[in-house]
């Protein structure tokens, strides 16, 4: 069972995600670039489907993603251009938020997302670095909904230190 992902905030405009997969880089790359595969896993919280997934995977090529809430039919998404396509090591793209029916702030500048894949002994480690145009944009992107009343023992302080590091 792979380790759960790690989320850190390297600066006030960035998010860094690290996750390993028990699969070769080529497969992880495919799962991130083929629409029919992306639509199987990049679904977000329960109750959402991904009706739109268009991918023109080349430098300068465009992509478009849209999710739909099954209960009320509201939609939102992301779109942008690929800036770097270096199969299977690095995929980078701009990311602009499409508020759709869900609403929310839409920064004028896109975020810059890069996915870097390294493989060792059949295990692929993916580092996703997201750089936002401002702290507010970063915070808005990460706060996909706060939950109330989570219990937190002092033992979980280690997670806080990773977040703040």
């Amino acid at each position: 069972m792979p380790k759960p992902l790690e989320v850190t905030l390297p600066s006030d405009r960035e998010v860094r995600v690290v996750r390993s997969f028990n699969a070769p880089r080529e497969l992880v790359w495919e799962a991130h670039t083929k629409p029919e595969l992306i639509q199987k896993w990049m679904l977000g919280p329960p109750g959402w489907s991904m009706p739109v997934c268009e991918m023109d995977v080349r430098a300068g090529g465009a992509y478009r993603w849209r999710w739909r809430n099954d209960a009320d039919g509201s939609e939102f998404g992301f779109f942008g251009k690929f800036t770097e396509v270096n199969q299977p090591a690095k995929l980078a793209h701009e990311e602009s938020y499409d508020p759709g029916d869900v609403g929310g702030a839409m920064p004028t500048e896109p975020a810059l997302i890069s996915n870097e894949l390294t493989e060792k002994a059949g295990v692929t480690t993916m580092v996703v670095t997201m750089v936002f145009p401002s702290k507010e944009a970063r915070d808005g992107a990460v706060s996909t909904g706060m939950t109330d009343g989570m219990e937190m023992g002092y033992a979980r302080l280690d997670d806080i230190f990773k977040v703040a590091a």
């Binding site: 792979p2 759960p4 992902l5 989320v7 905030l9 006030d12 995600v17 996750r19 997969f21 028990n22 699969a23 070769p24 080529e26 497969l27 992880v28 495919e30 799962a31 595969l37 199987k40 896993w41 990049m42 679904l43 977000g44 919280p45 329960p46 299977p88 915070d139 990460v142 706060s143 996909t144 909904g145 706060m146 939950t147 109330d148 989570m150 219990e151 937190m152 002092y154 979980r156 302080l157 997670d159 806080i160 230190f161 977040v163 703040a164």
Partner: protein
């Protein structure tokens, strides 16, 4: 209490700013084990008392520590609620993406099992 004046997002900013310093994180870690005086907190660091006090002020303004009632010792105590709120914010995001990646784990297992998979694996680069 001072913290009640801040909006929730301003409070989160204060908590993250407070934790964005290794000395302050070490102080918080120490206080997780029990309350301590300024002298006790400053002992592990090669730092002047005013410097330690400055760090404590940042932590107090963020609501992460409070001052005990012992007028002589004035021990600092860790307050969990701001940490709970900060954890919720990142934790929710992490949970959503961990759910995505668990689906991806299952998909990758399917792809590995496919007839073409072995051929792909032998490819270099």
């Amino acid at each position: 209490m001072v913290m009640e004046q801040f909006s929730p997002s301003a409070r989160l900013d204060a908590v993250f700013a407070a934790l964005a310093d290794p000395t302050r994180r070490a102080i918080v870690a120490r206080l997780a084990e029990g309350e301590a005086t300024v002298n006790e907190l400053g002992a592990p660091f090669d730092m002047s008392q005013p410097a330690i006090s400055k760090h404590l002020k940042v932590l107090e303004r963020a609501g992460l520590i409070s001052i005990g009632h012992d007028a002589q010792r004035r021990p600092r105590k860790l307050e969990a609620e701001p940490l709970d709120q900060a954890m919720d914010w990142i934790e929710r995001y992490r949970e959503v993406w961990e759910a995505n990646y668990q689906r991806l784990d299952a998909l990758l297992e399917e792809l590995k099992a496919k007839p073409g998979a072995k051929k792909r694996k032998r490819k270099k680069g």
